[in-house]
Amino acid sequence: MFSIFDIAGSGLSAQSLRLNLTASNLANSQNVAGDPQGVYSARHPVFRSREMSFASHMNGAGVEVLGILESSAAPIERYDPGHPQANADGMVYAANVNPVEEMANMISASRSYQSNLEVINTHKDLMMRTLTLGQG
C-alpha cells in the first residue's frame, strides 16, 4: 500500500533527472571546440523498470536510471576561421544537440513528472481517508 509512494517517487526522480539532462543539453548546445572529441555531446538517460525478482514482478515496480548515454552523433562542423578556438583549417565543432528534440523531450518529461505527482497526491488523499475510517 505504501509502496505506491516509492513507485511514483522513483518516477519523479527519473523524470527530474531527464529534465536535468535536457537543461544541460540546451545550456551546452552552443558549445564549440577546436577538435571533434573535445566538444560537449548530448546526454540522455536510459530507464529501466525495477522488476528483478519474481516477487517484485507480482508487485508493482518503479523505474530506475540504468545510465546516461552520450549521443554518438557527429558534432556539427562549421567553417569559422575567426573563432578563437578554430583549428588550423579554420574549422570549429559545435555540440551535437538538437534543440527541437530536446524541447520535445522536455515536454514529455514534464508531463510524466506531473502524472507521477498526481498519483502521489491522489494516493495521499486516499490514505488520509483510510486513516480516518470509522471516525465520526
Binding site: 513507485i7 518503479g62 523505474v63 514529455s108
Partner: protein, 128 residues
C-alpha cells in the same frame, strides 16, 4: 445479521483496489521505460474469486508449493496496446491515468461503504 463478514465484499474490494493502484502507478512510473509492458488485472474476476475463496492461480496441494496467486496478489496480465511505441513500451499514459482515476473513485466508494457500516454498528452499540 452478521454473515461471514460485516463489511461484505468491500473489505476485499478495498485491498484489491489498493493493489490495483500500485499496478497502475507502476505503469505510469514506467511510461518512458523502453520495453516496459503495461500490466493490469481483471478486477471483477479477481474479486469474485476472492469472495468465493477461490484464487485464480494454480492450486497448491503441498505446503512447499509456490503460491502462484491469491486475492492479495492477483494474476497480472499484459495490456493490449492501441498504439505501441517503437521502443517496445506499451504504456498509454492517458488511458492509464483514466483507469487510475476510476480506480481511486471506486476505492473511495468502498471506503464510504465501510464508513457507513461502522457508523451503523456504532449506532447499534450505543443504543441510539
Amino acid at each position: 445479521m452478521f454473515g461471514q463478514s460485516i463489511f461484505g465484499v468491500h473489505e476485499q474490494a478495498l485491498n484489491l483496489r489498493a493493489h490495483r493502484t500500485e499496478v497502475l502507478a507502476t505503469n505510469l512510473a514506467n511510461a518512458d521505460t523502453p520495453g516496459f509492458k503495461a500490466r493490469d488485472f481483471d478486477f471483477s474476476a479477481t474479486l469474485s474469486g476472492a469472495a468465493t475463496g477461490q484464487g485464480q492461480g494454480l492450486q497448491a496441494t503441498h505446503a512447499r508449493h509456490i503460491q502462484t496467486s491469491s486475492a492479495q496478489r492477483p494474476a497480472l496480465a499484459y495490456r493490449n496496446p492501441f498504439q505501441p511505441a517503437r521502443d517496445g513500451n506499451t504504456v498509454e499514459a492517458d488511458l492509464e491515468f483514466a483507469r487510475f482515476a476510476e480506480n481511486s473513485i471506486a476505492y473511495q466508494a468502498s471506503l464510504r461503504f465501510l464508513s457507513g457500516r461502522i457508523s451503523t454498528l456504532r449506532m447499534a452499540i450505543g443504543g441510539r
